[in-house]
């Protein structure tokens, strides 16, 4: 796999890395903020895609995101844990929850798992609303600005996490895990027969996905300085997590990244034009992709540009 890197690709990656490291010096603060939120969304999109590689559609990533967010915020509130360690703990707790939930429900057929994940995120939202003494209830929790409000440092942290996610996805693609995940997605019974334990791999994928989603949740809570249950456990986040990679193209490294960039641009435009309901684009995109472009933007690009 490593040998398959062409020289052009290596040069492109080096230039991209230099640009991304230099970027905070070039961008104005508002654009830097947009980039941070876009990177956060890319992390969510790529980690959703990791689980999707096993054929499982999670509609409740907000549950894991919210757990990460609240873990980081609560650890800060209780013991003033350093934010980065708090985010890491958020990731770890999300992994533990995913291991538990996944072991119980990932042996079920796909659609049951999807329904369980929605129920899981909504249940967490109710629990958080009903326990104001423990976790702030509907009023939410607030934390001081991350790195004293230094956006550049926040940018480098989220960039590092994004790089780690992409490295993880690349490793999954380059190793035998890719075969296991693909076999399970294509046909679970056959995968079982050839010696792959579907549930074990699905739980593994769910745990990897959960770590990054939880870490991202922790980052969000410190970066945003304020979280409420309706938002961090909300359907909006779960939907964003799945529409971005599906739009970009599933089971690819570039797909979730490209999907996120395009959708964030559309969303930013809609946010200033309509006051409510800017997620309408997500619904529309989902319908259009399923009906007309099952391989997403990456697939469309391959079909129209490469095969010309």
């Amino acid at each position: 796999m490593i040998h398959s890197f062409s020289r052009a690709k290596v040069i492109f990656l080096i230039l991209l890395a230099v640009f991304l490291l230099w970027y905070p010096k070039l961008a104005d603060p508002y654009f830097l903020h947009l980039t941070v939120t876009a990177f956060l969304a890319m992390i969510l999109a790529s980690s959703w895609d990791i689980l999707a590689r096993t054929g499982q559609v999670s509609v409740g990533q907000a549950g894991l995101f919210g757990i990460g967010a609240y873990t980081a915020a609560l650890l800060y509130k209780w013991i003033h844990l350093s934010p980065v360690l708090g985010m890491f703990s958020g990731g770890i707790i999300a992994v533990m929850v995913a291991a538990f939930l996944g072991t119980l429900t990932l042996r079920l057929r796909g659609i049951y798992f999807s329904i369980t994940t929605i129920a899981f995120a909504e249940a967490l939202s109710v629990i958080w609303l009903m326990t104001p003494d423990f976790a702030g209830g509907a009023m939410g929790l607030s934390t001081p600005p991350l790195f004293g409000g230094n956006r550049e440092q926040a940018y480098y942290l989220i960039l590092a996490l994004l790089a780690l996610v992409i490295l993880t996805v690349w490793l999954i693609q380059a190793t035998r895990l890719n075969f296991a995940f693909t076999a399970i997605r294509e046909n679970e019974e056959v995968a079982n027969v050839i010696g792959i334990n579907p549930t074990r791999y699905k739980v593994l994928a769910f745990m990897i996905s959960a770590f990054f989603t939880g870490f991202a949740g922790g980052f969000y809570s410190h970066y945003n300085t304020y979280i409420i249950p309706y938002e961090v456990f909300g359907l909006g986040i779960s939907i964003a997590c799945l529409v971005m990679p599906i739009f970009g193209g599933l089971y690819t490294i570039a797909g979730p990244i490209i999907g996120t960039i395009v959708i964030k641009a559309i969303e930013e435009y809609l946010r200033v034009t309509v006051s409510y309901g800017h997620q309408i684009a997500y619904g529309l995109i989902l319908v259009v992709v399923v009906l007309f472009m099952p391989e997403g933007l990456v697939g469309l690009w391959k079909k129209t540009i490469l095969r010309r």
Binding site: G55, V57, V59, L104, T105, L108, R109, G110, I111, Y112, S114, I115, T116, I118, A119, F120, E122, A123, V126, I127, L129, M130, L235, I239, L242, I246, V274, Y276, G277, H278, Q279, I280, Y282, G283, L284, I285, L286, V287, V289, V290, L291, P294
Partner: protein, 292 residues
């Protein structure tokens, strides 16, 4: 034990169960006949509720009289959705169908937010505040009427499925669509009709929802999740299971609301907890077997 509050909770749970059943029937019908879990079902309920709200607010139509209007409107919306989105992906993997209907659901939720804002609206009628005393319990007139209408809708659906020619075709297709096709049933048309009837039921139950709950863009999502819970409780795709599931959810919510401190808040989470417990312990549902 305070029997008055026990019976009161029981009555409240029973009445709300009727509404849940009406909402779940359409979902059950589509799942049973076509094998599709329609995530947009709740949103069709929401559209029915808004239709009733606007008819009542703008034209002063009695909400219970507009049930037919909401049902008919959503019947045609259902035909449209089926023809242009569901039909092309009938043979796709179930997850594609899930994503498609989820997309429709998100689209309709946000469309409602754009058109009607996120305000919670309620329908008020001349008989809204009236209630009846039946022995130990007080029953709101609107709730009783919605319950009776929901029961009526259920009976009509069952009669349709067992007596009408096209209803029997639906049952045949749900048993085995290839065999149904072989004996000359138009499977495509049966699917179309089943989806339309399910959407119509959603619209009619939306009218009921608007009379006893607030109408807002996410109401369909909330009640749709409850319908999923009922579906899972009852075993997927069978009507007796859906009725039993409705009863269990309605009563559990009502008793939790009465007997648990701050219960009405917790009751909102019951359906989610039940979904997880049932799927983990007995994935085939409480009644019947799982469809493959």
């Amino acid at each position: 034990m305070d029997w008055a509050s026990f019976f009161q909770s029981f009555a409240n749970g029973l009445l709300i169960a009727g509404l849940y059943a009406a909402v779940t029937l359409g979902l059950t019908l589509v799942l049973g006949v076509m094998g599709i879990v329609n995530f947009a079902h709740g949103e069709m309920v929401m559209l029915g509720a808004y239709n009733t709200f606007w008819l009542c607010t703008l034209l002063k139509v009695d909400p219970l009289a507009s049930i037919a209007a909401s049902g008919l409107l959503l019947f045609f919306v259902g035909l449209f959705i089926y023809r242009f989105t569901i039909r092309p992906i009938l043979t796709d993997p179930p997850l594609n169908q899930l994503l498609l209907t989820l997309g429709i659901s998100i689209f309709l939720q946000n469309l409602a937010m754009i058109l009607w804002k996120t305000d919670s609206r309620s329908v008020i009628t001349s008989y809204s505040g009236m209630s009846l005393h039946l022995g130990l319990v007080h029953v709101g007139l609107t709730r009783l009427l919605t319950f009776l209408i929901a029961v009526g809708l259920t009976i009509v659906l069952v009669l349709f499925l067992y007596k009408a020619r096209s209803g029997r075709a639906m049952r045949a297709v749900s048993e085995n669509n290839t065999a149904s096709w072989l004996i000359g049933i138009n499977v495509q048309r049966t699917y179309l009709l089943a989806f339309g009837v399910a959407a119509g039921l959603a619209g009619a139950s939306g009218a009921l929802v608007s009379t006893i709950m607030y109408t807002y863009p996410m109401v369909g999502f909330k009640i749709g999740l409850k319908a999923f819970c009922i579906l899972v409780l009852g075993g997927l795709g069978n009507i007796p299971g859906a009725l039993l599931g409705s009863l269990i959810l309605g009563l559990t919510e009502s008793f939790v609301g009465t007997y648990v401190p701050e219960g009405s808040g917790w009751a909102e989470g019951i359906s989610f907890i039940l979904i997880m417990i049932i799927l983990i312990i007995k994935p085939t549902g409480l009644v019947g077997t799982r469809r493959e």
